[in-house]
C-alpha cells in the first residue's frame, strides 16, 4: 500500500475528481460572489454553493468507480 498509493492510475483519476469540490467551492468563490442571476429563486452565490454541494456525492461516486475499475488490488483490502 505505502508509497504505491499515489501511483495507481485509479487513485490519480479519483484525486482529480476529488479536486472538483475544492475548486468549485473554494477557489471559485471570488468569481461567484454575486446575487444576479437569481436561479430557482435563490441568489446566485447560494445557488452555486448548493449545486456543488449536491454534486459532491455523484463526483465522489465517480471517483469510487475509477478506483474500482483501474486499481488492481481490490478496494476492500483489509485483512
Amino acid at each position: 500500500m505505502r508509497g504505491g498509493y499515489m501511483k495507481k492510475k485509479g487513485t490519480k483519476l479519483a484525486l482529480l475528481f476529488g479536486a472538483v469540490p475544492f475548486i468549485m467551492l473554494v477557489l471559485a468563490l471570488p468569481l461567484v460572489n454575486r446575487i444576479e442571476p437569481v436561479i430557482l429563486g435563490l441568489p446566485f452565490l447560494l445557488f452555486w454553493i448548493l449545486t456543488w454541494v449536491m454534486l459532491t456525492p455523484p463526483i465522489l461516486f465517480a471517483a469510487y468507480l475509477c478506483e474500482k475499475r483501474f486499481n488492481k488490488t481490490k478496494e476492500g483490502e483489509s485483512e
Binding site: M1, R2, G3, Y5, M6, A14, L15, G18, P21, F22, L25, V26, L27, L29, P30, N33, R34, I35, V38, L40, G41, L42, P43, L45, L46, I49, L50, W52, V53, M54, T56, P57, I59, L60, F61, A63, Y64, E75, G76, E77, S78, E79
Partner: protein, 475 residues
C-alpha cells in the same frame, strides 16, 4: 398541564433508555466500548457521523448566523462537503491502520505511526483541552433550548443536569453503541423539526422560499453575498475558513475515533459518498434564519432566531417537540465527546505516562470512572461558570486542526518524522494561540487556524526532511 414539558421529558427519558438498552448483551471490553467492536455498517456509521455534525450549534448557530451575519453563514454548507470529500481519501487508509494495529483513539495512531509515547500524550492533552469547551457549548445549548421551548417551565440548569446525567449513564453502560442508537431518535426528530420549520416559515410568511429571498433582496441585497452584514468576513475569510474547518473536521478526536467503528474500509468510503446529502437540512435552517431576518429584525441575540420564530408561528406542543429535538441533538454529541475525552485521559494520558503495562480491563474501568469525573467537571462548569469555557471553543477548533499534517502525512508520506510532527504541531498551536488571544483573528483577512496550519505544515515538512524517519512498516 404543560404539553411541551411532557414531550421534552419523555424524549430525554426514552433516549436514555434506548442508549442503555443498546449495550445489553454486549460483553464490554475496551474495543466494544470505544469503537463498538468495529461492527457498524453503512447506516449506523452515517447516523453516528451525522450525530456528531448536527449539534446544537447547527440548530441555533446556523440560523443565528444567517440572521445576523447573512452570507458568511454559507461556510457551514460548504465545509461539510469538503470534509466528506477529504474523508473519502483519508479515512479508509486510516481505518486499515486502525484495524491492523487495534487502535481505538487518535493518540493511539500517533503513538503507533511515530513510535513516540510522548507525542501520543501531547496529542491526547490537546484533544481533551479542545473537547471540554465543545462539550460545554453543547450543554449550554441544551439548557437554552429546553428553557425557551418549555417557556421557562424547565430552568436551564435542571435541563442540563437531568439530560447530561442520563447521557453519562448510557455512555457508561453502552459506550459508542449507546450514542449511535440514540442518534437514530435524534436524527428523525431533528429532520422533522427542521423540515417542518424550514419549509414552513418561508411559505407561511411569504408564500414560498423564492418570495422570501425576493424580500431579502429588496430589503438588503448585500446580506446575501460575502461579507454579508459583517465588517470582516469577506471572501478571503470564507475561503480560508472552509479550508481549515474542512481539513480539520475529521481531526476532532471523537470524529476521528468514531471512524474506527466501521465494519470495513469500504463502508467508510461509501459513507463519504452519501454524507453530503446531509447538508440539505442546513439550507432549510438558513431559510429559517433569513425569514427571521425579515419578520423579527429586532432580536438582540441572533441565536434566538430559530426558537423565537417557532414560538410565534407554531402551537406550544410543537415548541415542545423542537425543545425535545434540541435536547437529544445535544445529548448525542455530548455522549461521544465524553466517551472519547475519557478514553484519551485513561488510555493515552494515564496509562501511557504512568502505567504502560496496565491491563485492558483496568483501562476500561478507568475510562468509565473518567466518564463520571468529566461529567461532574462539565456540570460544575456549565452551572457556575457558563461563559468561561465557550470562549475557548475557537481555540479548540483551530487547535485540533493542527493534527492534520501529522495524520495525513503519516498516512501518505514516508519521510515524515516524529520530530517534524512535534515541531509543526507546537508551532501551529503557538501561532493559533497568539493570534486568537491577542485579538488578531482574522489575520490579514484569513482565519487564524489556517495561518497556523500553513506554518505547521511547512515546519513539519522541513524538520522531517532533516531528521531520520523510522517505522515505515506501520501504514
Amino acid at each position: 398541564m404543560n404539553v411541551a414539558l411532557v414531550i421534552i421529558f419523555a424524549t430525554i427519558g426514552i433516549s436514555a433508555g434506548v442508549g442503555i438498552f443498546a449495550g445489553r448483551r454486549v460483553k464490554m471490553n475496551l474495543e466494544n466500548w470505544t469503537v463498538a467492536g468495529r461492527q457498524f455498517g453503512l447506516i449506523l456509521i452515517w447516523l453516528l457521523m451525522a450525530g456528531e455534525i448536527y449539534t446544537t450549534f447547527t440548530f441555533l448557530g446556523a440560523s443565528g448566523w444567517a440572521y445576523s451575519k447573512g452570507a458568511p453563514a454559507f461556510y457551514i454548507l460548504i465545509y461539510g462537503a469538503l470534509a466528506y470529500t477529504l474523508s473519502f481519501f483519508i479515512l479508509p487508509a486510516l481505518w486499515r491502520v486502525g484495524k491492523r494495529h487495534g487502535l481505538h483513539t487518535q493518540p493511539d495512531y500517533f503513538v503507533k505511526r511515530y513510535d513516540s509515547r510522548s507525542l501520543g500524550v501531547f496529542v491526547a492533552l490537546v484533544g481533551v483541552f479542545s473537547i471540554i469547551p465543545y462539550l460545554q457549548l453543547q450543554l449550554a445549548g441544551l439548557g437554552f433550548i429546553v428553557e425557551v421551548a418549555s417557556d421557562g417551565a424547565i430552568p436551564s440548569n435542571t435541563a442540563i443536569i437531568i439530560a447530561f446525567v442520563l447521557t453519562c449513564v448510557f455512555v457508561y453502560t453502552s459506550g459508542l453503541r449507546g450514542a449511535a442508537w440514540v442518534a437514530i431518535i435524534k436524527d428523525v426528530m431533528m429532520l422533522v423539526a427542521v423540515g417542518v420549520v424550514g419549509i414552513g416559515v418561508p411559505i407561511i410568511y411569504f408564500g414560498s422560499p423564492g418570495k422570501m429571498f425576493e424580500a431579502v433582496m429588496a430589503k438588503m441585497p448585500e446580506h446575501l453575498i460575502f461579507p454579508g452584514s459583517t465588517p470582516n468576513m469577506d471572501v478571503g475569510w470564507v475561503m480560508s475558513t472552509v479550508l481549515l474547518t474542512g481539513l480539520g473536521f475529521y481531526m476532532w478526536p471523537h470524529v476521528f475515533g468514531s471512524a474506527f467503528s466501521a465494519k470495513s474500509d469500504k463502508i467508510i468510503k461509501r459513507n463519504a459518498i452519501i454524507m453530503p446529502f446531509y447538508q440539505i437540512p442546513i439550507l432549510l435552517i438558513f431559510f429559517v434564519g433569513l425569514t427571521a431576518f425579515l419578520v423579527i429584525p429586532e432580536l438582540k441575540n441572533g441565536d434566538m432566531a430559530f426558537l423565537e420564530l417557532v414560538n410565534r408561528t407554531y402551537p406550544p406542543w410543537f415548541m415542545g417537540f423542537v425543545g425535545a429535538a434540541g435536547a437529544v441533538t445535544a445529548m448525542v454529541p455530548s455522549a461521544i465527546l465524553v466517551l472519547f475525552a475519557s478514553t484519551l485521559l485513561a488510555k493515552n494520558v494515564y496509562q501511557a505516562a504512568f502505567r504502560p503495562h496496565a491491563k485492558e480491563e483496568t483501562v476500561l474501568r478507568l475510562s468509565r470512572i473518567m466518564v463520571l469525573v468529566i461529567t461532574a467537571f462539565a456540570l460544575v462548569f456549565a452551572i457556575f461558570f457558563p461563559n468561561e469555557l465557550v470562549n475557548l471553543l475557537i481555540l479548540g477548533y483551530d487547535g485540533v486542526c493542527q493534527f492534520f499534517p501529522g495524520v495525513v502525512l503519516g498516512l501518505f508520506w514516508k519521510r515524515v518524522t516524529k520530530e517534524g510532527v512535534f515541531t509543526g504541531l507546537v508551532i501551529g498551536l503557538a501561532i493559533v494561540a497568539f493570534l486568537i488571544l491577542t485579538g488578531r483573528d482574522p489575520f490579514l483577512g484569513m482565519n487564524a487556524g489556517f495561518v497556523g496550519l500553513i506554518g505547521n505544515g511547512f515546519f513539519t515538512m522541513v524538520v522531517s526532511l532533516t531528521t531520520k524517519p523510522k517505522r515505515l512498516d506501520i501504514v
